[in-house]
Symmetry: C2
DNA sequence: CTGAAAGCGCTTACAG
DNA sequence: CTGAAAGCGCTTACAG
């Protein structure tokens, strides 16, 4: 390999063997204290004389000392790893969530370990258990739908693993929850369509295994009700949060007489399917049909017409979730930042006369 | 929390306190050997009497013993963590790669730690270094474009961290490379278009920071040349692997006179942009224009018309990369499984007369 | 406020 | 083929 580009390192000059990283013993010796006192500084114990602390901190900084998480973990009987446990098939969701978690963990010394899972697998709980116990995880963040799994939560509580569940509505103690309040998004969708004069509106739900399916529907119904409208059972179809299910449900809805003038799809993927079905059936969007999605993932801007949707701040939610897990919840932020909000684009318009 | 759904555990019956996990000392005592001998069994040392080994293995199985990776790591001076270092902005790529890595790591006792990075950041190498050194990673997998960064590779080599680079062409020693051979995909795209009778073909490349941009172009040119066609500089635009850049480049190409009858976009994202631009300019696909992408991510099937593209087996590539990193490369598989291949859908058709 | 001893659960280096 | 001792780099429990 080319030596060009090899980084200069502080650890060793040219020709010297790489010096090993300093340990707590090195720092103790250099600061003329016991390693226990260095340990107190590392762990921010209040019982250290101010001058002693400053001396030790100076030595630590000078030598770029960082405690070994493995040794620390062995003594603490837990690791400095945080697990992301997920079963959401949407890559955009997963990546946004990961980025949010990493945002919140930045500088904390923790690392993120990913654990996709399958609630339907017979070894689901056993796998989760061995993942958490073997690595002695500091804690895990659970996202939908596995966040709504009582078996998983009970297992974690049972083995004493800290966790935070991200879900559309509270299903656990407050310190173990981040609520995304999808219901509010459903309401906003309904009100947007009502404001555009739509009366015959339809809804395509996600699968019942996701609590968000229900919350989005109930929010939508509540929003319609606030404008004197109702969602008929004929105009309600159960999808699966997939593109294909969006197509199928939309085809059924577009064959109704009279045809609905607007469809609220439970997520952007299904909304993309609705647009596809409309195109195939010669239904113009938004002239003949308004379409609204949920998520505001990248696909929303790529669709044609571009998709009116409900934005969910997934990355921000992820940041909040880990911070809460690490006990560093940052209360200063506007809670508004984490609520679903309407994004109007081209796929919605006034109801046809 | 509801106790319903709490998993039954072998570790403790009702009312009992949870028993701690067995350690190497427990196994040694139960098998009437020293812990060193248990250690030999754990580490598959050949120097253990067959009967001794079997006795120990039975005790291990009976008690569900699994060595503590932290303690093992402390003694080994390295962890059982594998890092995924990436800067590819495409969520589908990242998730597919992660799934592939996890496939390959399944049952190995290693865990996957994710590390997105930014080559343009001034702290890029320092961040990578501290990530690897602090966690004493077993090794890392690098994916494009960071896989092509000589500074990163040199740093890892310097600090003695094993790594495997996933790139379109070999840029390192064979044991440190997984080649995706994107050039072959470019060739297949060219031959498909040539077979359909296209003569005036255009290309939208990715950014120069990705080696794949060049490989896909060179493959395309080679494929055209094999059919007596050439790619003119007028018909070559530099995009950025983004939807928006696909739109911009396609608009420029579609204003040429004579207009190209086919466009090969360097990835599916840009191909989506080409379809968008064509729609806006009233150019029909595939009647007036054939479009072909690269990747075969989910978006390809959702576009309208659905996208002809080059499939890249990202998940399989990921599986191979970690196995190679762990020294368990599985040579039995057909190498064919990992090559790019043409997927014909609706966006390509015969050249207009 | 500070430290010496013992221990976390493994492995290495050395004996036998 | 097997084991007793020492050590990996930290923390806990106990003294002072």
């Amino acid at each position: 390999m080319a030596k060009r580009g090899a980084p200069e390192t502080e650890e060793h000059g040219p020709g010297e063997a790489p010096r090993r990283r300093p340990t707590i013993n090195d720092i103790a010796r250099l600061a003329s204290v016991s390693k226990k006192t260095v340990s107190r500084v590392i762990n921010a114990s209040p019982n250290v004389h101010k001058e002693t602390r400053e001396r030790i901190e100076a030595v630590i900084a000078e030598h770029g000392y960082a405690p070994d998480p493995q040794a620390r973990g062995l003594a603490f009987r837990r690791s400095f790893l945080i697990g992301l446990v997920y079963d959401n098939p949407n890559p955009q969701y997963v990546v946004n969530m990961q980025l949010g978690l990493l945002d919140g963990m930045k500088g904390s010394g923790y690392e993120l370990v990913v654990h996709p899972c399958n609630r339907a697998s017979p070894t689901f709980l056993a796998d989760l258990r061995s993942f958490v116990e073997r690595q002695k995880l500091f804690g895990v963040v659970l996202t939908p739908s596995v966040a709504e799994d009582e078996g998983a939560a009970a297992l974690l509580a049972d083995i004493g693993c800290a966790y935070v569940r991200v879900a559309s509505v509270s299903v656990d103690r407050p310190e173990r929850m981040i609520e995304t309040r999808d219901r509010l998004g459903g309401e906003a969708a309904a009100q947007h369509l009502a404001d555009l004069g739509h009366k015959r509106v339809a809804f395509i739900s996600g699968p019942p295994s996701f609590r968000s399916s229900r919350e989005r529907r109930e929010g939508f119904e509540a929003g319609l009700a606030s404008r004197g409208l109702t969602l008929t059972s004929q105009c309600t179809k159960e999808g699966a949060y997939t593109f294909e299910s969006g197509i199928d449900c939309a085809k059924a809805l577009l064959m109704l007489t009279p045809r609905p003038t607007a469809i609220f799809a439970g997520n952007d993927e299904m909304a993309a399917g609705v647009l596809q079905a409309a195109r195939q059936m010669g239904v113009r969007v938004p002239e003949d049909l308004s379409v609204i999605g949920f998520d505001d993932f990248e696909i929303a801007r790529r669709l044609w017409p571009s998709l009116t949707t409900i934005r969910t701040p997934t990355r921000e939610i992820g940041r909040l979730a880990v911070q809460q897990l690490m006990g560093r919840a940052d209360e200063s932020r506007e809670p508004k930042d984490r609520l679903p909000s309407l994004v109007v684009r081209e796929s919605t318009g006034p109801a046809a006369a």
